[in-house]
């Protein structure tokens, strides 16, 4: 059947902006990496839901396209034979390597490369599985799939709050003016369009895509509220005279846990999609 909607065109006009732009100044890139690594650590527990959803084989070679600080590369490397982690940013790759070492993994290879410049067989080998999470590769699923011998997987927020949207609640009215935070506020486009559009793009490319929505969230334990304030404040900006507002905002995400500590928790949902390179295009079932 001829597609009724040009989903790729819809993606172009509704897709979210890409957070990291190559060529940005070094200080920004460094800050971004620090920030991103903190967020990934807080998502560590829920990231396993995404990893567990995928039909991986122990002998798989896997390519993580836009790996960031290795949020997925590290738990994936514990399940497959080898992982190649690609990112455009040197700074996040340092964290990826560090996190791989900390997990005692020696089957992760990091490589600096922009998805836009990647060519299968030329500067990146094809892998059994290619995965792309919340990164620029989602903009071109056809190209992304061309790196896979068996399976392509993508991870995106499931019509649920993204990291910038979650943080904009915590840092609401905490600064008079802030360039970086404004980019959160002007995020604009409706992300609810996102995962459905990606599903249909994959289908129209001739794949039979699987989709699974999993619980997701960012969480961390602290010994006191003060400790939580001091840590979370590093994820955004707060004017000195706006500390009260920040604490009020953050309190909504803090609860006393059964051990007498404080738990920080921001809830969201993520969807994982995957498709085989050569799906069987038939059914004989009665």
């Amino acid at each position: 059947m001829k597609p009724l909607i040009n989903w790729e065109e819809l993606q172009k006009i509704t897709g979210p902006p890409i957070m990291f732009k190559p060529g940005t100044d070094a200080a920004w890139a460094k800050n971004f990496a620090v920030f991103y690594n903190k967020m990934a650590k807080m998502e560590k527990f829920y990231t396993l839901n995404q990893v567990n959803a995928l039909p991986l084989l122990p002998g798989d070679s896997l390519l993580d396209m836009g790996c960031g600080p290795g949020r997925l590369s590290v738990p994936l490397a514990q399940r497959v034979k080898s992982v190649t982690s690609l990112d455009v940013s040197d700074e996040v790759l340092k964290y990826c390597k560090m996190n791989a070492d900390a997990a005692g993994l020696n089957n992760i290879t990091v490589k600096k490369l922009d998805f836009m410049d990647a060519v299968p067989g030329e500067n990146v080998e094809k892998h059994d599985v290619v995965i792309c999470s919340r990164s620029v590769g989602l903009r071109n699923l056809k190209k992304l799939s061309s790196f896979a011998n068996r399976l392509t997987a993508i991870v995106t927020f499931a019509n649920a709050p993204t990291i910038p949207q979650l943080l904009s609640n915590i840092f609401k009215d905490t600064v008079e003016e802030c360039e970086q935070r404004q980019s959160f506020a002007t995020y604009g486009t409706d992300r609810r369009v996102n995962c459905n559009v990606l599903y249909n793009i994959a289908y129209d490319l001739g794949y039979e895509p699987n989709i699974k929505v999993v619980e997701d969230g960012f969480t961390k334990n602290y010994t006191s509220k003060e400790e939580a304030y001091a840590d979370i404040i590093t994820l955004g900006k707060v004017d000195e005279d706006k500390m009260g507002i920040f604490r009020n905002n953050l309190d909504k995400y803090l609860t006393n846990n059964e051990r007498g500590d404080i738990t920080f928790f921001m809830e969201t949902r993520t969807c994982v999609m995957w498709w085989e390179k050569n799906p069987k295009k038939f059914f004989l079932h009665l």
Binding site: M1, L4, I5, L10, T14, A158, N159, A160, T189, D190, R192, V193, C195, N196, Y199, N200, Y203, E208, P209, N210, I211, K212, V213, R269, C271, W275, E276, P279, K280, K281, F282, F283, L284, H285, L286
Partner: protein
């Protein structure tokens, strides 16, 4: 695109897309009369001559517990309802064809299954809470062969306390396609599972889709039985004796014959679409 004007149907009447494609499909089984007439043939799926692992694969993927109640919409010969009844507290098996319900009853008796009740009803007209009580799980196994898909899935959703499961074949039915070439017709498949996925999305439901590979064979003693299943699904066309002879010759050529039985390949690819009653729904305009 802000929340107020977000339209998850993208302006497309997916129900209408479904209806049109189903009406145009080369082969389909619509209406109780068709199923009543075919009961003799379809009942054979239960009689042990089939080794398809469809039932086992599906049961393995359903989240079931012994205290649950299950409603099987379009139960057919009971090939899922009966094994389900052995795993849960109670199964209600519903079908629009009395002859199919009779098969379910007979098969349940054969297996000494008593916690199963049959209901004769056209599901697209069922009144939930009046005609049918809500159940924990609502299942439709390849039974959404209805012109009114929206009415069909809305009722599934309303009748479920916990979760809905719906299966539908993936891709073109290659045997149907070859039968069409024997008949000298252009093959038009039944609508794709992606239409179901998009219809659900337009209703605010972000469903999971799992593409499952089923395998197995079925032994067929008499090829005219197979020709009869083609005739039952040929809606409006009558197969003359010459055509029937052509089809028998075609089946004889494509199937292995051993010990007087023809071996029919039951390999298939099936989309298992499921959704939870607890997951947040999108704001729907419809």
């Amino acid at each position: 695109m802000d929340e107020a004007c977000f339209d998850p149907s993208y302006g497309i009447d997916w129900d209408d897309v479904w209806r049109q494609q189903l009406q145009e499909a080369s082969f389909r089984t619509l209406g109780a009369d068709c199923w009543n007439a075919g009961a003799g043939n379809w009942g054979k799926a239960m009689d042990g001559s089939s080794t398809s692992n469809y039932v086992d694969q599906l049961l393995a993927r359903m989240d079931l517990s012994p205290d649950m109640t299950v409603l099987d919409v379009g139960c057919g010969s009971g090939r899922l309802a009966i094994p389900l009844a052995k795993r849960v507290r109670f199964v209600t098996a519903l079908d629009q064809a009395p002859a199919m319900l009779e098969l379910t009853k007979q098969n349940a008796e054969k297996e000494s299954v008593q916690n199963i009740k049959t209901i004769h009803m056209d599901w697209t007209k069922a009144r939930i809470d009046i005609d049918v009580e809500p159940h924990d799980i609502v299942l439709s196994s390849s039974s959404a062969l209805m012109l009114e898909l929206r009415d069909f899935v809305i009722r599934m959703d309303r009748a479920a306390n916990k979760r809905c499961y719906l299966t539908w074949g993936v891709g073109a039915n290659m045997r149907d396609a070859r039968v069409c070439s024997v008949l000298g017709e252009k093959y038009l498949p039944t609508p794709s599972y992606v239409v179901i996925y998009n219809l659900l999305y337009s209703m605010g439901i972000l469903a999971n889709v799992e593409i499952c590979q089923m395998s197995g064979t079925r032994q067929v003693k008499n090829l005219s039985d197979l020709v009869r299943t083609v005739a039952h699904r040929a809606h409006g066309r009558t197969l003359d004796e010459t055509t029937k002879a052509k089809l028998i010759a075609f089946f004889a050529k494509e199937m292995l014959c051993q010990d007087g039985y023809y071996c029919q390949d039951m390999s298939s690819s099936v989309a298992l679409i499921s959704w939870s009653k607890f997951a947040p729904r999108l704001a729907s305009t419809t």
